[in-house]
Every structure is written in structure tokens, then in C-alpha cells.
């Protein structure tokens, strides 16, 4: 078995295992730490897909941003639930739904004629292409600008929502 497959299985096991620990953890803080583990696993998968840029964004935005926010929210709300109630509602039917969904998706994936090898890289510097496409008026300039406006709105909105009363 070539090295790449071994690495893929190891990294995929990390990402999936950590994700399962996230949803099944009893303590919210531990779930947040397992979430970081899952994000690391997905970042490693991006490196396997030869996009270090996406891996870098995953590390910087998700782990350095979203996960830090989540942990701060956990610390502010101190876990947040009364300890005498159960922490999940009806895990068995939720598991049935999730497994059924997974089975349907895997069945669909197996049916499709998907390539077994990645297409050849046209040239190595795809980052330049991506940057050029994002500011090209006939490319993706409009979504780019809309996203920046949206981020401004979210910035102001979350400041307003989180203010001290």
C-alpha cells in the first residue's frame, strides 16, 4: 500500500475520530478541544490534496478564530447547563437518521464514475490563478465584494449583540 494511502487513512481516522468525540463528549470544554483535533485532521487532508493555502486558512480561520471564539463562549457560559438533566435528547433515533443519511450518500458515491487519480497539475503556481480570479470583474469579484460587505455587517452585528447591557 503506497505511503499516501497510509497517511490518508491515518489522517482521516484522526479527523473522524475527533469529530465523533466532539458530539459524544459530556463536557463541553473537552468537546471544544476535540473539535480542534478534528480541524487539524481536515487541514492535513488539505495538505494531501496539495493545497497548502486551504490548509493554512483552516488553521488560521477555524482553529485560530472559530475555535478560540467557541472556547471563550464556553468559558463565559461556564458549561451552561443544569447538571441534573441528561445532556442529549434521544441519541438512538438521531444515530439512525445519521447512519441512514451516510448509507445513502455512500451508495450514491459508489455509483458515480469518479477518477481514481488526480488530474495533472497544469502548472505549480495555482495561488496566482486563484488570486487573479478573485479580483477579476469577469471572475469572482462580485462574490468577493459581497463577502466583504457581509463580514462588515457581521462585525457590527456581533458587537451590538454581545454588548454589556
Amino acid at each position: 500500500m503506497p505511503v499516501s494511502q497510509v497517511v490518508f487513512l491515518a489522517v482521516g481516522a484522526l479527523a473522524l475520530g475527533a469529530a465523533v468525540r466532539v458530539v459524544m463528549s459530556h463536557r463541553v470544554f473537552h468537546a471544544a478541544l476535540w473539535l480542534i483535533g478534528s480541524f487539524f485532521g481536515v487541514a492535513a487532508l488539505y495538505m494531501l490534496l496539495e493545497s497548502p493555502f486551504m490548509a493554512g486558512i483552516q488553521l488560521f480561520l477555524y482553529i485560530g478564530g472559530v475555535a478560540v471564539l467557541t472556547v471563550i463562549a464556553i468559558m463565559v457560559t461556564k458549561g451552561g447547563m443544569r447538571p441534573d438533566r441528561r445532556s442529549t435528547n434521544d441519541p438512538w433515533s438521531s444515530a439512525v437518521v445519521a447512519v441512514a443519511l451516510f448509507a445513502v450518500m455512500v451508495w450514491m458515491i459508489i455509483q458515480l464514475p469518479l477518477p481514481a487519480e488526480p488530474a495533472s497539475q497544469v502548472h505549480g503556481e495555482s495561488l496566482h490563478l486563484l488570486g487573479a480570479a478573485l479580483v477579476d470583474p469577469e471572475g469572482y469579484l462580485l462574490p468577493f465584494e459581497v463577502v466583504s460587505v457581509m463580514l462588515l455587517i457581521v462585525l457590527i452585528g456581533s458587537l451590538y449583540l454581545g454588548r454589556e447591557r
Binding site: P2, Q5, F8, G12, L16, A19, V20, V22, V23, V28, A31, A32, L35, V42, L45, Y46, L49, E50, S51, F53, I57, L61, Y62, V66, T70, V76, T77, G80, M81, R82, R86, S87, T88, S93, S94, A95, V97, A98, L101, F102, M105, V106, I109, L114, P115, A116, P118, A119, S120, Q121, V122, L129, L130, L134, Y140, L151, V154, L161, G162, R165
Partner: protein, 106 residues
């Protein structure tokens, strides 16, 4: 030189599995913050799918990666806003369990 030997279907199955773990998390958890974490896992799975397709099908076009970046920005923004809302709810209701936040319930 490319990293060869991994079929595309493996990446898609990994993405599907992550997505379903996220679905389980959203359905089964009572803590609002756990629900937000599960939504982030689902979004991760989606972007993984996008990037895998972008790599395997036609790397010259950057549509997949541009889409992925925009999804990332949206996901981060939504997480920030959701957590601000949760902190606001905590200050008034003093709980973050989903069933106990029922002011608007008829």
C-alpha cells in the same frame, strides 16, 4: 509531482462521514454551543468535498477553490454571530440548553 494513489471516492466518503457526524451532533445535543460546533463540522465536510473535486477534476479552473474560500468566510462569520447570540441569551436566560429557551413558544 503529484500525490497519487488515493481515489476521489475516498475523499468524498470521508466528507460524507464528517457530515453525518455533524448531523448526529445537531440532532442529539441539548447544549447550544455543541450544536454550533456540529454545524462547523458539517461546513468543514462541505469544503473538503469542494476542494477534493477542484483538485481531481480540473485543476486549471479555480472555481472550486474560490467557492471554498467564500464558504469559509461565511462559516466563520456565522459562527461568530451565533456565539454572540449565545452569550446574549446566557446573560438574560442564564441557560444554554435548547429546550429551556422558549420565550416565543405559543
Amino acid at each position: 509531482m503529484a500525490i497519487t494513489g488515493i481515489p476521489l471516492s475516498w475523499y468524498l466518503i470521508a466528507g460524507a462521514a464528517l457530515f453525518c457526524v455533524g448531523v448526529y451532533g445537531v440532532l442529539a445535543n441539548r447544549n447550544l454551543i455543541m450544536i454550533i460546533m456540529s454545524i462547523e463540522i458539517m461546513l468543514n465536510a462541505v469544503v473538503l468535498n469542494l476542494v477534493a473535486f477542484a483538485r481531481y477534476m480540473e485543476p486549471a479552473r479555480v472555481t472550486g477553490k474560490a467557492f471554498a474560500i467564500i464558504v469559509y468566510a461565511t462559516a466563520a462569520a456565522e459562527a461568530a454571530l451565533g456565539l454572540a447570540l449565545i452569550i446574549s441569551v446566557w446573560r438574560t436566560e442564564n441557560t444554554v440548553a435548547v429546550e429551556e429557551i422558549d420565550l416565543l413558544q405559543g
